[in-house]
Symmetry: C2
Subunit: 324 residues, 2 copies
Amino acid sequence: MADCGTIGINFRFMPVFPNNLSLRQLRAFDEVARQGAFAPAARELCITQSALSESIRQLEEALGMRLVDRTTRTVGLTSAGQAFLQDVRHAFDTLEQGVQHLSDLAALRRGKVRIAAAPSVLAVLLMPALPRLRAEHPGIEVDLIEDSAEGIALRVHSGQVDFGVGAAHPAGGELLTQPLVSDQMGLVAQADEPLLQAAQLHAADLAQLPFVGLTTDTAISQLLATAPGMPANVLHTPLRVSNPALLFDAVRQGLGVSLIPALTAQHPARGALGFRVLDTPQVVRRTLLIQRPRRALSPAAQLLCEALVAQVHTLSHQAGMLPD
Amino acid sequence: MADCGTIGINFRFMPVFPNNLSLRQLRAFDEVARQGAFAPAARELCITQSALSESIRQLEEALGMRLVDRTTRTVGLTSAGQAFLQDVRHAFDTLEQGVQHLSDLAALRRGKVRIAAAPSVLAVLLMPALPRLRAEHPGIEVDLIEDSAEGIALRVHSGQVDFGVGAAHPAGGELLTQPLVSDQMGLVAQADEPLLQAAQLHAADLAQLPFVGLTTDTAISQLLATAPGMPANVLHTPLRVSNPALLFDAVRQGLGVSLIPALTAQHPARGALGFRVLDTPQVVRRTLLIQRPRRALSPAAQLLCEALVAQVHTLSHQAGMLPD
DNA sequence: CGGTGTTACGTCGAGCGTAACAATA
DNA sequence: TATTGTTACGCTCGACGTAACACCG
């Protein structure tokens, strides 16, 4: 490498910063001031007197100023030393505080997690885990952002969220995905709908029923569109809503039935509506955990990740759930 | 030396302080964050990428936490890294400020000097130098403390003042002294006193005049007491005052004449009173510069010291002055 | 003498550069 | 392919300890 600092244009600000001095020297100075003598300070620092003496000498040389008045028997600080000591200790406190902050992050005493996810994931997988998380880690802030598959991908890619949960989507380029849970599509209808009690439920059975769909930008809608054997009224619905909660409201109002994933059926907004898995075709929705590649999750984000997986396991016995 | 940290009782506070990390690593971290990449940061730091990479690795290892997310092409900070960066920069600013303070002290832009001295020294040697000093170094604070020889010695010994100027005194133990100026004792009297014009002035000439003295705790009084050939009215005075200003007032009131050093005669409070050196005996007062041994003077104190010496030279042509 | 801080000197390891590698755009 | 970050491997210089010294109580 070319020797630096030769002609280079970029001298920048360069305020003669302590390029020379080291934390060792400053720590040594602090301890000498604290102890008022070299010998005990050296013991405290776990070095010999000679090493300590050398450190102080170097520090004074680097600063071009005498900091300590040596009197063989007792040691005192120069007025300059006293002034400098203030700042050194302040800097130490700041650094120590910084390390403490890191420790807090690692120990989950502090932190902030931002998650983007599909509505059902938020309501069914994350919300139930929050009370315990809030109780056990009150210092961790959580932002839950409801979004579409595309929005999730974009938010993950831009780093706006720590990770996302939802369907795969090409937006956002290459993202690191990991299967979290798969579930089957099923019929949601008013409780007295006879099909809910049928021995077998086929997609064709829905052909004559009024059908309420999700807007076409949703991953679920697109999943149904690619599934084989879907009757026309399922593929082209006269009424489309953008999220499960509205869908449940529509079904409850008698506007029709719908097909939703089993996980979404766990949404509290379903209320007393009935649900059963579709036997043919088996339409499986895969929900992924989506991260930026080569980006480490913060400890708090890991915690929520784990809570998410745990919640998946809790719900794994429900009809139509296929945990990965 | 016994290996430290074994059983020792003194674990003290020991808050897992950054015992490992160094300023180099922190500076490297700061620069990586600033540049957003290793290569330019390494150039800025005048080291190779490999060295920089190693520094960051060590820092992360010391902190037990990933600070930088490497993406080969671009580099981002972990949330932990962002939080830590704040504190690191704050600590840097504090240190830089400390160094700046030292620089200010050295360049006489800031500073504080405390001086203890005899009244005549303050009024005659220091006061005249102050206007220029205040003009040239407005950031330097000066404390002038008027005191007796004993008080000066004690204040110097205790470190309450940077240095003292006055007569020698055993109080305060071993002090570093340096002759500053010597001057002869002389007669101070109302301007019409015939002795002021005499060809020769002998101590015995004062025997019949009313005499006003300084209190016996003053160095001048003690000096006169040990001088040979002093008439009784000089040695035992019915009226004693504690400082030259009062003495001048007394003489002006016609209460008597007195003997004072030539330097003191330069005191502005003398007004129109006459002064002439005593021819026999020649009584010489030695004024010393008094410092604590093995204690370096601050730059500001040195400045005042030099101003003091310069003022001595300015007055060296006056009658009775014997600069050393 | 006991204890202080300083200096001299030999040793060892941390920190660096060179070079080869891996991975992205 | 060009550029970036990582790893491997010597090397050198700085930081340490031992020891001898100088100094004060």
